[in-house]
């Protein structure tokens, strides 16, 4: 079966005065219809650049998609002229962003910002557009649409604005919704509400979602598959249960330690992985994670680890998976990380 979205060997760089920043190098994944895919990884690992490449939102210059293919509904997006791309954006695929405070235009009313999408993509008349907008506002839990449409973003709370963003993104009934950290800027309780809303909507309309987050805990409750990114590459990907029960990559192990335990009512402190993020200006000759990896071996500094299939759908790129690598048990994994976590700075990832 053909996938709704298929990204193949995508590489995107930014050409700055300092040099080429390899924000994304050789990323491949797919999204099926009605499926939710999670992308996790610490700040700067290339999550946003990956999805912006899909949406055609990479600022050029300095950015440039160097190689790869992006197929959406069987169409190679990278070969499409900008006009055709613009016609897809907001209609067939939509995106919502991290900060709802700054993502809405302060000088236009909510109504103006929503209805313009329908004018643009659906050619709706005023009455029709208004009806659709009100319906979608209602769907995201804003009932007083008539009043709300006349208001300006600054009259709304963060959670409300994110609801407006979601409603706007869904107005033209897209097949793919990309949510780039949709809850990071919100209060914890509001976060939960927005995620609940997205979950609801996914069921109601047959929507595929790419959800970007720092928080593996969010992924667990929302997505069927996850990809873990590090330094512009995918280091591990698989079904949610694969990742949670039998993760294979040391970086994923590090991420997993920071998930709050279910038996613990208090949210546990985020346990950071010690060390600094990779330097995308000067990519390492081997595994990007080697400098921070408690399990690094000689080969890790010399050769980039290849992606290995663990079982159908679950794969990881780590030299530990090589048949000749030493086998580690769970206890060993934990103890090695504990040993390092005290020495590292408390940097949130």
């Amino acid at each position: 079966m053909q996938h709704l979205l298929e990204v193949d060997n995508l590489s995107t760089s930014f050409f700055t005065y300092a040099g080429e920043i390899r924000a994304v190098s050789g990323v491949s994944f797919y999204v099926d219809e009605g499926e939710a895919l999670g992308i996790v990884g610490e700040s700067g690992c290339g999550k946003s650049v990956t999805v912006k490449s899909i949406m055609g939102l990479i600022p050029e210059p300095p950015g440039k998609i160097i190689k790869g293919q992006i197929n959406f509904r069987g169409q190679n997006l990278l070969a499409l002229p900008e006009k055709k791309m613009a016609a897809l954006r907001g209609k067939a695929m939509s995106m919502i962003f991290q900060d709802p405070m700054t993502s809405l235009n302060p000088v236009l009313t909510i109504g103006q910002q929503m209805i313009e999408v329908l004018y643009r993509h659906e050619g709706f008349g005023k009455r029709e557009a208004f009806a659709r907008t009100a319906e979608f506002l209602d769907m995201v839990g804003i009932s007083d649409a008539r009043h709300c449409l006349k208001q300006y973003p600054h009259e709304f709370s963060g959670g409300m604005r994110q609801r407006v963003m979601i409603a706007t993104a869904l107005l033209c009934q897209p097949q793919l919704l990309i949510a780039d950290e949709p809850t990071t800027a919100l209060d914890v309780t509001i976060q939960a509400q927005i995620l609940e809303l997205l979950r609801d909507l996914k069921k109601k309309v047959n929507l595929s979602i790419i959800l970007i987050t720092h928080d593996l805990g969010v992924v667990a409750g929302f997505c069927s598959r996850v990809i873990v990114m590090y330094g512009g590459r995918i280091v591990e990907s698989g079904l949610v249960q694969d990742i949670f029960k039998s993760a294979q990559h040391p970086y994923t192990w590090g991420l997993l330690r920071s998930i709050p335990r279910l038996d613990n009512t208090q949210r546990t402190r985020l346990i950071p992985i010690p060390g600094t993020p990779p330097d995308l200006l000067h990519p390492a000759p081997g595994c990007e994670f080697a400098a921070r990896c408690p399990f690094a071996m000689n080969i890790c500094n010399e050769q980039v680890p290849v992606m290995r299939q663990i079982n159908s759908g679950h794969q990881a790129a780590c030299w530990l998976l090589h048949p000749q690598a030493p086998k580690l048990n769970i206890a060993e994994r934990r103890s090695r990380y504990e040993g390092t976590s005290h020495s590292g700075g408390r940097k949130s990832c």
């Binding site: 939102l57 700054t102 993502s103 809405l104 235009n105 302060p106 236009l108 009313t109 313009e116 999408v117």
Partner: protein, 309 residues
């Protein structure tokens, strides 16, 4: 609304203050309107002073003047026999207004268009050309530019008449000279505003919605980018009003500015005061207008200044 009412009251107060100040200054300067030139017989001077109420106590003169002012009656001119200040203003105002209005329109549209173009072509040839023009417009004083245009375009090249008034082609050079500075300022502010706005998240959102490029620039970016331009409108109007003096003088345009300059050397009190008051009133009105435009552009700014009523 209450705020606007308050502003109007304070505007009237400002105008009153200007009236009083000019009145006092005029009378503080030694020498009367008729004390220059050839010496007149004392009887005649007395006669003249009597006729124009210059022998009255100062306070009475002041109060009379205020009273007339309330009826927009600026009194007779001391110099132009048989003509009132109102006549002179009515004669000069249309010319000044046309000049100012044309310069304003050119400055707003030309400046904004240049600023937007420069921002969209950032660091390209066109951007550098515009930055160069802007630098010239800001640093060259208007009388230098006026004289330059008059000489080269007017006398040397004969493209436009270097002097005078009455035909459409007469207005071209004065308007360019008058609007060069505000065009440059507005272009500079618009460029900076656009560059700032184009990196904002809501522009990225607009792109993600698949809107046409023109929609993104005009509807989403420009409205935000113009905020700094609107804050410049107050000084801008002041510049146009005072700039008129120089430009009218250089190009010999019989507008209010020229009346004003001649009336000062003539000590024609009523003309000086009438002009000053008119300009003060215009300036205050324009500033109020600028504030109102500001709130129209940005809904986050409420004219009330306090609670959103």
């Amino acid at each position: 609304m209450r705020y606007i009412f308050g502003r109007i009251v304070s505007a009237i107060f400002v105008v009153w203050f200007v009236i009083t100040l000019t009145f006092m200054l005029m009378h503080a300067i030694p020498g009367g309107p008729f004390s220059s030139e050839k010496v007149l017989p004392p009887a005649i001077i007395d006669n003249i002073n009597e006729r124009y109420h210059l022998n009255d106590p100062l306070l009475k003169q002041y109060l009379d003047y205020l009273k007339n002012m309330a009826y927009f009656d600026f009194g007779p001119s001391y110099r132009y026999q048989g003509r009132t200040v109102n006549d002179l203003l009515q004669e000069g105002f249309p010319k000044t207004a046309l000049l100012g209005l044309s310069a304003t329109i050119l400055a707003l549209f030309g400046g904004v268009a240049m600023g937007v173009t420069a921002a969209l072509k950032q660091n390209k040839m066109l951007d550098y050309v515009i930055i160069f023009l802007v630098t010239i417009g800001i640093s060259v004083p208007s009388f230098v530019l006026a004289t330059f245009l008059q000489y080269y375009i007017g006398y040397e090249l004969h493209w436009f008449p270097p002097l005078g008034w009455g035909e459409v082609k007469n207005i071209i050079l004065p308007v360019i000279a008058l609007s060069a500075y505000p065009v440059a300022q507005i272009a500079r502010l618009t460029r900076a505003g656009m560059l700032d706005v184009l990196t904002q998240d809501y522009i990225r959102t607009a792109k993600a919605k698949g809107l046409a490029k023109s929609t993104i620039i005009i509807r989403h970016a420009l409205k935000n980018a113009l905020t700094p331009v609107v804050t410049f409108l107050g000084p801008f109007f002041a510049y146009i009003l005072t700039g008129n003096f120089v430009i009218e003088y250089v190009f010999n345009i019989p507008g209010i500015g020229q009346f004003f300059v001649t009336s000062i050397s003539n000590r024609d009190y009523p003309v000086i005061m009438g002009t000053t008051v008119l300009f003060a009133a215009l300036l205050v009105t324009f500033n109020l207008l600028a504030d109102i435009i500001y709130t129209l552009l940005d809904p986050r700014i409420k004219l009330t200044g306090r609670e959103g009523a």
